[in-house]
């Protein structure tokens, strides 16, 4: 964009989102890589379709993680500093399975997120919301034998970013997931149900399939709360690898 062009408005970005959604009603479940409403994607998306390949043996395996890699305390993001972080304390838990419903056991889950005010403890985050000295916002966990992960954290706040004028990311937690094999590797984001910013967000909306969008929403689950101490959300993850679809616009 020329330097002096007026920044895009939410209305113009939302109109782009709507027209792409209409054109991709039958798209696959994944995000479109060529998705101009997310301005940073314009020069970073491949233009060739992915080449289909039969995975070799090494690609049908993946790295192994274990007790040497992850400390059990890494899963409590509220306990990494002397004091309690500010915000709504919550448990985030769920089960990771493959496309056939088999648990993904003993695998690494990594998370990172903004604090309750919507600020990352990261030098590149210039959003003038307060940093929280008691919250770094990064955690690790290994899934148990039945594929369950569990983190204790605080609810992240939404934050502005510079995609367009007054652009706001819905509250989210970044998740990094390893499957049974290398082809199932996924990095994604978990969102909260009913967030009014979801329809406005070009990153969430890059998934044209509404069922695909739903799979990124956690569910409030009173059964996973810790009584009189934290709320709780459930988010299950399915890692299918080879069946992922990559539709070009």
């Amino acid at each position: 964009m020329p330097e002096n062009a007026p920044p895009d408005t939410q209305e113009s970005i939302s109109a782009e989102i709507a027209s792409i959604a209409a054109a991709h009603e039958k798209a696959g479940p994944g995000p479109l890589l060529d998705y101009p409403p997310y301005r940073s994607s314009i020069l970073r998306h491949p233009t060739f379709a992915p080449v289909q390949v039969d995975p070799e043996e090494v690609e049908l395996a993946g790295p192994v993680f274990g007790a040497r890699d992850v400390d059990p305390t890494d899963a409590d993001l509220t306990a990494q500093h002397p004091g309690e972080p500010v915000g709504e304390r919550m448990v985030v838990t769920g089960r990771i399975t493959d496309g056939a419903g088999r648990p993904v056991a003993g695998q690494l889950v990594e998370v990172w997120q903004a604090n309750a005010a919507g600020r990352y403890a990261h030098g590149r985050d210039r959003h003038p919301a307060p940093l929280d000295p008691n919250f770094t916002g990064t955690g690790r966990s290994l899934t148990d034998a039945d594929g369950w992960y569990r983190f204790v954290t605080i609810k992240p706040g939404p934050y502005p970013w510079r995609n367009h004028l007054n652009a706001w990311r819905p509250a989210h937690i970044h998740f990094s997931l390893f499957g049974r094999d290398f082809t199932e590797r996924v990095v994604t984001q978990m969102y909260f149900p009913g967030d009014p910013l979801l329809p406005l967000d070009p990153i969430f909306q890059s998934i044209p399939d509404t069922a695909g969008q739903q799979r990124l929403l956690a569910t409030y689950d009173h059964g996973v709360t810790r009584p009189e101490w934290s709320t709780g959300y459930r988010w299950d993850i399915v890692l299918t690898g080879p069946r992922r679809t990559w539709t070009q616009s």
């Binding site: 390949v53 993680f65 030098g123 590797r185 990153i203 799979r215 690898g241 069946r243 990559w246």
Partner: protein, 185 residues
Amino acid sequence: MTDPTPGTPGQTVGPFFGLSLPYAGGPELVPPGSAGAIRLHGQVLDGVGEPVPDALLELWQAGPDGAVVREPGSLNRDGWTFTGWGRAATDNAGHWSFSTLRPGPGRPGAAPFFALTVFARGLLDRLRTRIYLPESESSLAADPLLSALPAERRATLVATAEPDGYVFDVVLQGDRETVFLESRP
């Protein structure tokens, strides 16, 4: 779509993974300078050839004997165990670098390669590719993936040898765009 359950979609790694995903020792599958260590490095470039300073690469490979490695400890390296997996973020010049071992062929006569996963701000889902070693022309010519590609696209998957290892650029878009892969269902 034959899967009973569709997968969880990916989303961009965004700009703020730096405090969480990169870690000390991530790019060093073996200590630099140790016996058999090679340097595998390059740049990540965008559609106008500009370096991508906020990309993250993950390397997964067989050992020098071609066998799949099943060793934990990648996140907390002991300096002796080869885990076959590493992670490197790009620097301000879009440059990345691993210290590792040459992978062997997965089966007799097969072309050895590194498997690579690419994440970046601006990239809405991860990309997968392979970095083939340039030495064995006959195994490269017989490789099912490479032999099906036009010559100029095939060249994007083969590293260039250097005295201490290999160089390989990941080009996200454009004429020299790297071939990215999807598993055949």
